[in-house]
């Protein structure tokens, strides 16, 4: 935060030098090192002001609020009470559990399916490019639209689209989003559908880097396709796996739109995740302090998860 300049009202690029700019460094030889530094801060100012206002101030405000009972007549300091209430509240522990299940299931499903898809569509042929592009469309589709479409397809009546397809195979109609046992799984199914093509593209980028002469050498040695995959392709893709784990750690627990649109946590709280619960507490019940504490818990969990993945990645590489 020391680098953030004092806020200026202009969201447009500020042309005036920032008063908070540090003393000029003498690193640039020749004319005007001081001018270079001032120009740099002036160009950075719009970004830093926007980050300050819409990322860092809310972050610290959230930290402060989490220690208070937020009221219109003045906040009351309650210490760690909000946190205690969250961690002992059944609804919250349930929601945390659901978030974790959803994150793990979606990540694993997307990575496995993404890898299989990538292997199936790898190659320079023109028609494979078409298949890849078609499969990638869900990723660029607005999440709210994806969720509405899936909500309709998941319709629990036997005339619902997915139930009709199951009907052809002689399977009885499923409740999907309407069932307490199936709601979370149904959300996961949709998330994998949207997540797998993304992972597929990242895997494809990784597959480009695999040394082709190794495949040839393996063929000369008479290795089977499975052994070639197991001993050449998968090890070469290891960095890709770590990238995907890192992204999953950052994104996994924050899931909101999918659940909010598909079930809004129902039926009977069976698909309530951390973010939908925080949203309800904050915006519907006015429990801003507890909601803010929930946000901080989510942040700390995300941070720990990210650090854990990085540590494991480092250990693997060593």
């Amino acid at each position: 935060m020391t680098a953030a300049p004092t806020p200026t009202p202009a969201p447009a690029p500020a042309r005036t030098p920032e008063p908070a700019a540090p003393a000029p460094s003498g690193r640039r030889p020749g004319r005007g090192p001081r001018r270079g530094t001032l120009v740099a801060w002036a160009f950075l100012a719009p970004a830093l002001v926007l980050f300050l206002y819409f990322k860092f101030i809310p972050m610290f405000e959230g930290l402060r609020m989490s220690l208070f009972e937020v009221r219109y007549v003045g906040d009351r300091f309650v210490g760690l009470d909000n946190y205690r209430r969250i961690l002992t509240d059944d609804a919250f522990t349930q929601a945390i559990w659901h978030s974790v299940v959803l994150a793990v299931g979606t990540t694993a499903g997307s990575i496995v399916l993404g890898l299989v898809l990538a292997l199936l569509v790898e190659g320079p042929a023109r028609y494979l490019w078409f298949v890849r592009t078609a499969a990638f469309l869900p990723v660029v589709t607005t999440m709210a639209v994806v969720a509405e479409v899936w909500r309709i397809m998941y319709h629990p009546a036997d005339t619902g689209l997915i139930n009709s397809i199951l009907g052809w195979a002689g399977i009885a109609p499923q409740p999907f989003l309407a069932g307490e046992d199936s709601s979370l799984l149904s959300i996961m199914g949709m998330s994998v559908w949207r997540g797998a093509p993304y992972d597929m593209m990242i895997f494809l980028a990784g597959l480009v880097g695999v040394d082709r002469s190794l495949y040839e050498a393996a063929a000369v040695d008479g290795a089977s396709t499975w052994r070639r995959l197991r001993h050449i392709t998968l090890p070469a893709l290891r960095p890709v796996f770590w990238i995907l784990f890192t992204l999953a750690a950052i994104r996994g627990l924050r899931v909101f739109v999918e659940v909010y649109v598909l079930t809004n946590g129902g039926p009977n709280g069976s698909s309530e995740v951390l973010m939908t619960l925080i949203y309800k507490l904050g915006f519907q019940k006015g429990e801003l302090g507890i909601a803010a504490a929930g946000g901080i818990v989510l942040f700390v969990a995300t941070l720990l998860l990210t650090v854990l993945v990085q540590v494991m990645r480092g250990r693997q590489a060593a």
């Binding site: 970004a47 990322k55 709210a144 005339t159 082709r212 396709t225």
Partner: protein, 287 residues
């Protein structure tokens, strides 16, 4: 040699069995991943009252849903979405190229800290700060402006995006310095050098951050949900929910609105596919 072009060597496999396998697998992939979207396209142009009426086979094409959508203010929501994405993207791209210029071309004290700030914002999902953000937007510190229910409230928070800035910075580092120095010797000022020399050279990267920024802003959900408290300020994605259960028109209007919310991002992706893929891999590699 072609056998060794891919891990499975599937493409080079010949013969009736291999061909059948490929047709089946790739056909299934296309149906599974585009089927729901094609279904939306077809159903939006069909007349149906049935809440399960989602079909891949059109029986009677009509524009009824799109006509009725007007009564439900769908075009107002669409306009709101375009205003937010238009100004938001303009701001985001400007902010990104300015910041990237400083980070890529200047040396100054505190640069590592600034880079760290950018990375932190990328590690910090906006969902986490949603609650306090809603209070900050209602009363900006020092300025005491209330942005609730305004376009600015939906535009300014997406104005600075770490991903865009970093992609742009990486690209600008590759632009040769000689041109810039030549312009400076000719007496061009800082801003003129930037706009006439640097920016034109960065056009490929502008495509990347442009298409990513568009998708990112178009996909915003929580932010408009917090800011647009009155229905007349809703963007299309958050309005979909309210269009769901309408006894008079069934799901027709919802489908029409969903299609309208879907098309811009699909068109942007198809038009800038190459840039999109480049951004995808460069962004992912940096975590």
């Amino acid at each position: 040699m072609r056998r060794f072009d891919s891990a499975l060597g599937l493409e080079a496999a010949r013969g009736p069995v291999a061909t059948l396998f490929k047709v089946l697998v790739h056909g299934t992939m296309i149906v599974v991943f585009t089927g729901p979207l094609v279904g939306l396209l077809v159903s939006a142009f069909s007349r149906t009252l049935d809440p399960t009426g989602f079909t891949l086979w059109p029986d009677a094409l009509s524009l009824t849903n799109f006509v009725q959508a007007a009564d439900k203010n769908v075009y107002t929501y669409l306009l709101n979405s375009f205003v937010v994405v238009g100004f938001g993207l303009l701001l985001q791209v400007l902010v990104s190229v300015f910041a990237a210029y400083a980070l890529a071309r200047k040396k100054f004290r505190g640069m590592t800290v600034v880079m760290l700030v950018m990375l932190t914002t990328m590690m910090l999902p906006e969902e986490i700060i949603a609650i306090p953000l809603s209070l900050v937007i209602a009363d900006l510190p020092l300025l005491h402006l209330d942005l609730v229910g305004t376009y600015a409230g939906m535009i300014l928070p997406v104005g600075a995006w770490g991903f865009s800035i970093l992609v742009m910075t990486e690209f600008m580092k590759e632009v040769p310095v000689e041109l810039e120095e030549a312009a400076r010797i000719d007496g061009a000022g800082e801003l003129r050098t930037f706009f006439t020399i640097i920016l034109p050279l960065c056009r490929p990267a502008l495509g990347v951050i442009g298409v990513f920024g568009f998708t990112m802003i178009w996909d915003q959900y929580l932010l408009p949900l917090i800011v647009a408290t009155e229905p007349d300020m809703w963007t299309l994605p958050i309005a979909l929910r309210s269009l769901r259960s309408d006894e008079e028109v069934g799901i027709g209007v919802l489908l029409a609105a969903s299609l309208l919310a879907l098309l811009p991002s699909i068109i942007a992706f198809l038009a800038f596919q190459r840039q999109f893929m480049r951004g995808l891999t460069s962004g992912a590699v940096k975590g």
